[in-house]
């Protein structure tokens, strides 16, 4: 077997590049990438957060995740464009389509990142990585960074080095020169809290962390410590997974634009969330045993409650009734601002243990399926419950993309 060769392909300021390329294709003369600009929120309402920023916007110290309002204060002539997720999915799909020409073994790590296994390829990695990069640039009109190494972790670290439009390698023999001098917070899986902990014991660079003894880090930070120690030493043996991990839970949440202070409205929001989560769970052919509800009040204090059902369910009505029960049990009648509903302990819906006392819900199943099919063909708002008419509450709540699921980034590589 040849030695493993893994590429990590990362789109440079993804949402912004895609938006810029799309706009150029539609005759806009300014390239968003060349001026201070951000993707995010809604300019008229002046709310929302920065989702992506251009490289010139970086010079104004604009941060991803800050409010549009504060970004505009830093740079008054900033161009703000609203996001369009369906377009970004098209762009991401097109990129994966090109990658498939180079290797059958591809893991889509998030909407703008992918791993590609080129262990069995016949060309040199320098040639092939530049070929991929140039192909994407020429065909799709945006730039990517490619990190090349012998495992996924190092490839991912390498693609982060210098941007944009570059290829970097980080093979194990290059660790000392390229990765160890970096600040420890740059390491994958080292977040702000771990950084503080590491700093408190004089560990400032990735090299400092790598030089610790394995026993010491284990006795201090336990298993997560061992993981980051291995990462610091470039050790990672995970495979490029062609198939996504099995889904463990399905949930949706919403922050309401007004404080909800009466039971009727709260129930309607729960119904809208139930519609969405049960539709999603039916789409992946699963049923759930556990329904959990989390609410956040006007003081940003949140609490939750969950229940394990006797029979797994995928029925909108049943999920709604359960959510309503959980809600009535825990609500203290204070104004609420956020609701989230999730289903977990999933099992396949083709066969499961029936219960003797179970109600016959075969008609309800048929109804749910019919509604799903209508919504699939004619849009999500083609049929909805009449209580939502003129209520100002959306009949289906949750998720940025209505039509399609896309892979989210996970902490596991």
């Amino acid at each position: 077997m040849s030695s493993p060769l893994i590429f990590h392909i990362d789109v440079n300021s993804a949402y912004l590049s895609w938006e810029a390329a799309y706009r150029l294709q539609h005759g806009e003369e300014i390239d968003l990438r060349d001026v201070p600009s951000i993707v995010g929120g809604n300019r008229e309402k002046r709310h929302g957060i920065v989702l992506a920023k251009s490289i010139p916007a970086k010079d104004y110290n604009i941060l991803t995740g800050e409010t549009i309002h504060s970004a505009l204060q830093k740079c008054p002539h900033l161009r703000v464009v609203p996001p369009n997720y369906e377009r970004y999915i098209d762009a991401s799909d097109a990129m994966i389509h090109i990658l498939r020409e180079f290797s059958p073994n591809i893991q889509r790590y998030s909407i703008d990142e992918a791993f590609l296994d080129y262990s069995y390829g016949d060309k040199h990695w320098i040639d092939i990585s530049y070929e991929i990069k140039e192909r994407i640039k020429a065909d799709l009109g945006f730039t990517v960074n490619i990190g090349v190494s012998s495992n996924k972790l190092l490839a991912k670290m390498a693609s982060d080095f210098k941007k944009p439009d570059m290829v970097h390698s980080l093979f194990p023999y290059e660790l000392q020169d390229k990765m160890w001098p970096l600040p420890v917070s740059e390491l994958f899986m080292v977040g702000p809290k771990t950084t503080v902990k590491l700093h408190s014991r004089g560990i400032f660079t990735i090299g400092d962390l790598a030089a610790l003894s394995k026993d010491y880090i284990y006795s201090w930070l336990k298993k997560p410590g061992l993981l980051i120690w291995e990462y610091a030493n470039g050790i990672d043996s995970s495979n490029v997974r062609n198939n996504p991990l099995p889904i463990k839970s399905v949930g949706n949440s919403t922050t309401t634009s007004f404080d909800v202070d009466n039971q009727r409205e709260a129930h309607m929001i729960l119904l809208a969330l139930s519609e969405k989560v049960s539709m999603r769970i039916r789409a992946i052919n699963q049923c759930a045993y556990v329904v959990s509800l989390n609410i956040k009040n006007y003081n940003f204090f949140s609490y939750s409650r969950q229940v394990k059902l006797n029979n797994p369910t995928d029925s909108t009505n049943f999920v709604y009734r359960t959510a309503k029960r959980l809600f009535d049990e825990m609500w203290q009648e204070e104004p609420l601002r956020r609701f989230s509903l999730s289903l977990s302990e999933l099992i396949s819906n083709d066969y499961y243990q029936l219960n003797f006392f179970e109600e016959d819900d075969s008609k309800e199943k048929l109804l749910d399926n019919a509604i799903d099919n209508i919504r699939k063909s004619f849009g999500h708002k083609s049929v909805f419950r009449s209580c939502f008419l003129y209520s100002g509450i959306d009949p289906l709540i949750g998720g940025v993309i209505m039509e399609e699921e896309y892979p989210m980034m996970s902490s596991q590589i």
């Binding site: 390329a21 098209d90 991401s92 097109a94 990129m95 945006f142």
Partner: protein, 87 residues
């Protein structure tokens, strides 16, 4: 040529080939009058998929007000819309 990207009304011929062939289009000019332009010749066509959005670009030639002009049309596959891209 200047970028216009103006939506236009189009009569096109959907042949057995891969791409439709633009025949004549109607555009509203500066005086808000409708103007019909016959596409005399297609010089070349190419497909682009910038940001994953498929569009067919046609470079064409026509006689407009007694002068021979070159312009570019675009057909967006996802929306079935035609545009006068550049003239």
């Amino acid at each position: 040529m200047k970028v216009l990207m103006k939506p236009i009304e189009m009569i096109a011929w959907f042949s057995k080939d891969k791409y439709p062939i633009p025949l004549r289009y109607r555009i509203v000019d500066e005086n808000m009058e409708n103007k019909v332009i016959k596409v005399d010749k297609i010089l070349f066509k190419e497909e682009e998929k910038i940001a994953g959005n498929r569009m067919i670009l046609y470079r064409c030639e026509s006689i407009i007000e007694n002068t021979q002009r070159i312009f570019e049309l675009k057909y967006e596959i996802s929306t079935c819309k035609w545009f006068l891209f550049k003239i």
